[in-house]
């Protein structure tokens, strides 16, 4: 019996807090930080924050493809939400993350992590941070929602134990809260991420990105060489992933001023056209050999066409559809980053209220 089932069934008997913390630690049910013990009372308070029944199936999750997928209920998600220290009013966000069926504890030997972007009115309702320090440990909702996503992933997919069920060779520190933050929609120069993905501005959503192994960073956009500087940054993003621009509002406005990108899609196209590499060098990358080349030989476009390029012919390595832009930060400066992270999906939070 897992901790989650034991906690639900009440079969973990009374003991000291220290002993119970040790029990969870010894069984690999935590992220090795102290947890909030999932007492019946706390789990019930979490369950009261959604209209969904405790035994409703939320989804199935697996650490990588070709590993078994495990099924889980609303109540099992609630146990993990309590353990992470989340407040009940965050629970619909956590359920939406669980409903994504995307694991935040991928066993990829590349040590991938996920990034979570929250959009819509719920950001304000539960006090999420999208301004100064949004991606750091400075907001209770950001911190515990992201941690809950990690705990529910490891505990509900059948474990995540190094050398056994987790094989990320170096590990990834983003896994502590899965880079969970809200988009700064109010200060953005463009439509928010979830609107771009087909939702209404008044909808509340979570969007999940996968990868987070490569990051490049810069201060603002210089008048003379900003295009070249962006190209240099893009060269540092792993070619098997995709660039997700994380722009402080100041930088977002600079992109509009310097490049005339009145629409977000214009900036996305510029990124697609700027990230180029000679074909010979591109195909020689080990990541590309392993994960792109087989699809190209199978005829998948645009990679199949890239195969026909001469070795010195530049190819655009990131398809336009894979490039994303998110505005986050508090205008303390024009710092911005490009995260190597592929967009996976956007899930409605409202459906889990």
């Amino acid at each position: 019996m897992s901790a989650i089932d034991a906690a639900i069934a009440g079969t973990i008997g009374p003991d000291t807090e220290d002993n119970l913390q040790q029990l969870f630690l010894d069984n690999h049910w935590t992220d090795n930080l102290p947890i909030v013990l999932p007492t019946r009372q706390r789990v019930d308070a979490m369950l009261a924050a959604t209209s969904h029944a405790p035994d409703e199936i939320v989804g199935r999750m697996q650490p990588v493809e070709f590993r078994a997928a495990w099924q889980y209920t609303v109540e099992q998600v609630a146990v993990n939400a309590v353990m992470a220290g989340a407040r009940p009013d965050y629970f619909p966000v956590i359920l939406a993350l669980a409903a994504s069926e995307l694991s935040a504890r991928s066993s990829s030997s590349s040590s991938s992590a996920v990034m979570v972007v929250v959009n819509g009115p719920i950001r304000r309702d539960i006090g999420m941070n999208c301004g100064v320090g949004a991606m750091g440990p400075y907001n209770h909702a950001n911190a515990t929602i992201g941690r809950a996503y990690g705990l529910l992933s490891q505990n509900l997919q059948g474990g995540s134990v190094p050398g056994e069920s987790y094989m990320g060779s170096q590990g990834n520190g983003y896994g502590y809260n899965n880079l969970t933050f809200a988009e700064n929609e109010e200060k953005s120069a463009w439509e928010p991420l979830h609107v771009q993905k087909g939702f209404k501005a008044t909808d509340s959503t979570v969007s999940i990105f996968f990868g987070c192994r490569s990051t490049t960073f810069c201060l603002g956009l210089r008048e003379r060489y900003w295009r070249e500087h962006v190209r240099d940054m893009l060269a540092g993003i792993d070619a098997n992933s995709a660039p997700c621009l994380l722009l402080d509002p100041i930088t977002a406005r600079q992109f509009v001023e310097r490049g005339g990108f009145e629409r977000k899609q214009q900036l996305i196209r510029f990124i697609h056209e700027t990230a180029a590499m000679p074909a010979g060098r591109y195909w020689d990358l080990q990541l590309v050999q392993n994960y792109v080349y087989p699809w190209a030989t199978f005829g998948q476009e645009p990679m199949a066409t890239w195969l026909k390029a001469k070795p010195d012919e530049p190819i655009r390595i990131f398809p336009e559809a894979d490039v994303n832009v998110v505005v986050v930060g508090g205008e303390a400066n024009a710092y911005w980053r490009i995260m190597g992270a592929k967009y996976r999906k956007t899930i409605s939070i409202d459906a889990w209220r």
Binding site: V64, S109, M167
Partner: protein
Amino acid sequence: MPSVTTRIVSLAATYQKDDPKTWQEIKAHGDAAIIGVGHCSNCAPAVTTHAITLETAYQVPTVTLHTDKFDKVVASVAKMAGLPEAPRAFVPQPVMGKSAAELAAYVSGNDPITGRPVMEEVVRALTAAPDGVHVGH
């Protein structure tokens, strides 16, 4: 084994897809299969899954070859697929970046999990009945 003819067959595309055409070809022209090499967290489970498909859906005796780092992962995949005794042998990690001579030495060397010769494990897996216990352990 001079009486055995071996042939290297590549998958039609990526290990992330099932490959019925290749399995059919192996069944039509071969007596047994060695599938590999599982050497990462995604490909090792895929190699095991494809081997179980070949063994159970096509009735081709199949053994998988993996690097030793993934022994527990593939044991879990085989168990969850309903064939915990799925035959497998192991070579050292890594295989990536190694020369042909270094790889040949892996094959003629010992399985790091069992300590027995890799080829002995392979031959035994293809010729002996599974004993209900993972052959490599």
